[in-house]
């Protein structure tokens, strides 16, 4: 175990790789983009800042606790994990690796957008199974707050998309 003084932010970020979104267990919090800041002060105190994907996301408390658990496991006694809206999450913050993980999981990654999410953006989903663009949105709401439901006219399968936000 590294001594507290030698702690690098990049190292802590690496530790957090093992913390996954409890509703999408292939996606790490790093790749989801909800870790908005990691700080180590001169006394060795570690502060991790996080931001929720959706305001009412029930998985947020679990994620916050999972981050704390990792810090404790790594021997960081003095730590704080802060959840706030100072940085507002949007779906463009999902990393390339995260987008690939979503697709492999069978969830269409959110279309990238210029922060103006309208009906044209939401309807534009490529099928995660066959990559066809010939798809139709069935409803902008799904089994969790962050998913919408679609149907692929090419491979005739229903699929879900991580919503653009």
């Amino acid at each position: 175990m590294s001594s507290v003084k030698d702690l690098e932010v990049s190292e802590i970020k690496e530790w957090l790789e093992e913390v996954k979104d409890p509703e999408i267990p292939v996606l790490s919090l790093n790749d989801l983009g909800v870790i908005t800041g990691i700080d180590v002060d001169s006394s060795g105190k570690v502060t991790v800042n996080m931001t929720p994907t959706f305001t009412g996301c029930p998985a947020m408390d679990v994620m916050q606790q999972d981050v704390k658990d990792v810090l404790v496991k790594k021997g960081i006694k003095d730590h704080e994990v802060i959840v706030s809206f100072k940085t507002q999450w949007n779906s463009n913050m999902i990393s390339e690796r995260g987008r690939k993980a979503l697709k492999d999981f069978g969830l269409a990654p959110p279309p990238e957008h210029n922060m103006i999410v309208d009906i044209d953006i939401i309807e534009r989903a490529s099928c995660p199974h066959c990559n066809s663009e010939n798809t139709e949105m069935k409803t902008p709401f799904g089994p969790t707050l962050c998913r919408s439901m679609h149907y692929c006219h090419n491979c005739l399968q229903a699929f879900e998309q991580f919503k653009p936000l």
Binding site: P52, G56, S84
Partner: protein, 251 residues
């Protein structure tokens, strides 16, 4: 910052979200289509989550914790508009209320994203993105059913006529309205109402529905000052039933 003014604003918004969120959740298992069942349930979860975050800001300003505030107050201590506490009725009424409320809600949080109170502005930037989905959902169905069959049009028209006095009641001004405006906390209910009218008119004009003449309607006020219909207290009693079995229980 005028503390009483900001608290009043936060309470009325949080109470609207909590109560309408609860009403939306009553559609779970009863939606006319599976997709609508899921839509109303999702919107319920969003709205209750948003109310929780607004109550958390109130908590930081010295009010009780969110659970206590949500579950331990009586009807006369709630500041929601009477519109959101009305029974769901049939799907046509729920849909019209959803449309009229969420059109206002989206504009409200777009305005609040510019608030001089940074904590609220940050949360509003988040909520407006989520509410966009609610508003889009409402617009799609109003446009579709508002031009579909004789029955769908007449049902929506009846609900629209019945709703309008209550919908206008959402914009009842606060006793601190001028402070909110002067301090840049919120641009005010009148400014919101003007933008809302424009948007509502735009959507309704794409249907066979007729927008009632808003100038000749007397708004149903009172909700923002704790005056409610007979529907609110039973709703609160039911909502807090589990909590009140053991308020100290840890979940």
């Amino acid at each position: 910052m005028n503390q009483n003014a900001i608290k009043d604003l936060l309470y009325k918004m949080a109470d609207d979200q909590l109560i309408l969120g609860h009403k939306n959740s009553e559609w779970t298992g009863f939606g006319p289509l599976l997709e609508e069942d899921i839509a109303f349930s999702s919107m319920a979860q969003d709205k209750v989550g948003q109310s929780w975050q607004l109550y958390k800001i109130l908590n930081e300003l010295g009010e009780s914790d969110p659970d206590t505030v949500a579950f331990m107050r009586n009807a006369e201590q709630f500041h929601n508009s009477q519109f959101v506490e009305l029974p769901n009725g049939e799907y046509d009424f729920s849909l019209i209320r959803h449309f009229l409320f969420d059109t206002a809600e989206l504009i409200r949080f777009q305005m609040l994203a510019e608030s001089s109170f940074e904590t609220l502005a940050n949360l509003a930037k988040k909520i407006k993105g989520e509410t966009k989905y609610h508003s889009m959902h409402a617009n799609i169905w109003i446009k579709q059913l508002g031009s579909a069959t004789e029955e769908s049009i007449s049902r929506l028209q009846d609900s629209l006529d019945k709703s309008m006095p209550y919908a206008l009641g959402m914009f009842e001004v606060s006793e601190f309205e001028q402070d909110l405006i002067n301090e840049g906390l919120f641009a005010g209910e009148e400014a919101l109402k003007a933008q809302w009218k424009t948007k509502v008119t735009e959507v309704i004009s794409e249907t066979s529905l007729i927008l009632p003449d808003m100038e000749s309607i007397t708004p149903v006020y009172g909700g923002r000052y704790g005056k409610h219909t007979e529907h609110l207290q039973p709703l609160l009693t039911e909502m807090s039933e589990v909590f009140n079995v053991d308020p100290t229980a840890d979940w």
